[in-house]
Symmetry: C2
Subunit: 377 residues, 2 copies
């Protein structure tokens, strides 16, 4: 978990077993060369095996999991008809505010949600019909169709490296919802066994901006690695349709493109909010509408953790450039102001024309002294 | 006009004639000592004199001025009854976008608007029932109750110094609408003859934010110098009632207090808009709500002239401090980011733990090189 990913960069690190399979795999765009055309493992193990595995560690499964519908399996009328696909079994790792928020949409679209967290969310899950597990190991035994990583940016590497992939079905789709995309894309491509699907997503909203529904809110996704044979592609579309059905504006773009756009928009927005929060702005009796939008922006920004902001900076390769651009813009505005001020003062000295009015203390309106000595500075 | 105002600072500069009158004058707060208890000139000259003056320069008055109701005078039934005050005659100097915008409210409240500008607004004024004059001299002959300065911050000193006060009624109220307040307050106190009333106002909205009405929008005012005898006080209240009746949130505060609040709110807002405009932000396919408010703020800011922004800086004694605070806040955020980054890299070097993932070029996600040499920097 704590090993540098760069030890793997550019290396063919897949187990020999994976390439010995006879399955054909068609992989989509944005797949590094070393991943292309690697065979998928056999999908969907027999239902009997599933039950055995699930019952192997009963102590980690909360009682109320019984209320959660079990996987329908290949033999269910729905999947055999192939017209109405069976609901997905979506496992969520990291079940804080954002994980719970996303779980709501998944459930509204009729899918089963199971969640794992070190924190105890058993009461919340019992109230919401969600299967809760205290360990990711137990969750991974649950024959998931999709494993959705909802951890923070900073903890994601540790979370992903701790997933016991051998307990998952070998065609499981792993998806993330981070606000940066190249980082989880590279991480998942490096860590996941080759049969697993990878969908990198960014729901560009949260519990606050999406509290009145997800209609028209942007949902970015990149099908980083989805096999076209088997039913991985269909399940991928089924998973994405959750957000489509909730009314999101679906935006398919590469992770790299997302990070370029996000650094110039989301990261800048968070930076402005963070800078303003340092100013400790207060509401005044004479707020303009523009000022009120800044107060609201500041409030929204600081309601997110500094860790999120740091993650947006640290894990987006474009963020440093944007921060530099912002600093240069600030400097440019200062120069424009001081340039005009200098011009004004120079006119006063050289042409002795159009001075600013002085207050009784002898200071000009801009705080400069109007004394003859100061005028010579 | 080009003479420094500091030549007058602290000096008793009123004409001897003014102090020789027997009139008593009660002046309100914020009046400098040298203005207190100075007698007012006799008010409201005979109607015959008015007519003679108005006809003295017919060439400067547009034809359609005939359509504007003439002043009712003291003998009108309305003013003699004292229950329903006669409509005010409001002269506006500087008739650009903002002057026209304010004129709309004045007219809606049943008052007469007359305007003067070097630019030709005769067609606009004819269409809107406004008397238009090509010279301030001609406007000042029109027996105005209120002379409203709607010039830009930068041109106001020149405009005020060019007003032929001797052509105005000696109890005329002079008001301004600038976004800075100490500057026009001091200027008007220095330049205006002592009998003139002074109301400094700041309607904290404009043609854009007030396009759907002025309801609940803040209107700041300071009755800088209003005589309590005669009818100046009543006319002052009548003038302010225009904005009250339009639904504004009336905020009475001193000019100094306004400038302190405005530097920390309006000036900061304009500065953020100006800084972002230098970044040349574009709408992206993945705008968050927060980013969209910044795009809108930037658009609104640059729709105002740079001269306005420069005026907010130059003519508000508190602006420099706020600009410094903003710069320090930006620096603080940078330090927080680089501090965390440094901590992370240090852990990598010293503890060789939890590095960031590398892309194929060997660069860390944050743009730093992961090469051993770079790690020693």
């Amino acid at each position: 978990m704590a090993t540098s990913l760069r030890h793997f960069a550019g290396l063919g690190y897949f187990p020999a077993a994976a390439s010995s399979s006879g399955f054909t795999c068609f992989l989509r765009r944005d797949t590094p060369n070393f991943c292309a055309f690697v065979a998928l493992r056999p999908i969907r193990p027999p239902a009997a095996t599933v039950t055995a595995k699930a019952s192997a560690s009963p102590s980690t499964v909360e009682q109320h999991v019984q209320a959660v519908p079990s996987h329908s399996g290949d033999s269910s009328p729905a999947s055999s008809a192939a017209a109405v696909p069976a609901p997905l079994r979506v496992g969520i790792v990291g079940f804080g505010n954002f994980g719970q928020f996303i779980a709501g949409g998944v459930q509204r679209q009729g899918h089963t949600v199971l969640a794992a967290s070190r924190s105890d969310y058993s009461t919340y899950c019992a109230q919401h019909g969600i299967g809760f597990f205290r360990s990711v190991d137990a969750l991974c035994e649950e024959q998931l169709d999709v494993l959705l990583i909802c951890s923070s940016i900073l903890s994601t590497e540790g979370v992903v490296r701790a997933i016991p992939f051998h307990r998952l079905r070998p065609d499981t789709i792993v998806a993330d919802v981070l606000s940066v995309k190249e980082f989880p894309r590279n991480l998942l491509l490096e860590v996941l066994p080759p049969g697993f699907g990878i969908i990198c997503t960014h729901p560009m909203f949260g519990p606050e901006s999406g509290k009145h529904g997800w209609g028209k809110l942007p949902f970015v996704f990149d099908k980083v690695r989805v096999a076209e044979d088997g039913d991985q592609a269909a399940k991928c579309d089924q998973f994405l349709s959750i957000f489509e059905q909730e009314g999101c504006r679906m935006v398919e773009m590469s992770c790299a493109e997302h990070d370029r756009y996000a650094a110039g928009s989301q990261f800048i927005t968070h930076t402005i909010g963070r800078v303003l929060s340092q100013l400790n702005l207060k509401s005044t009796p004479i707020n303009t509408k523009g000022y009120e939008t800044l107060l609201q922006l500041t409030k929204n920004t600081v309601s997110d953790s500094f860790d999120l902001y740091y993650g947006l900076f640290m894990y987006n390769i474009n963020a440093t450039e944007q921060l530099d651009n912002l600093e240069m813009s600030f400097e440019k505005v200062r120069q424009m102001l001081s340039g005009r001020l200098h011009e004004f003062i120079r006119k006063q000295i050289v042409e002795r024309a159009a001075p600013v009015p002085a207050d009784p203390s002898g200071k000009l309106a801009n705080g400069l002294s109007s004394s003859p000595a100061a005028r010579l500075l």
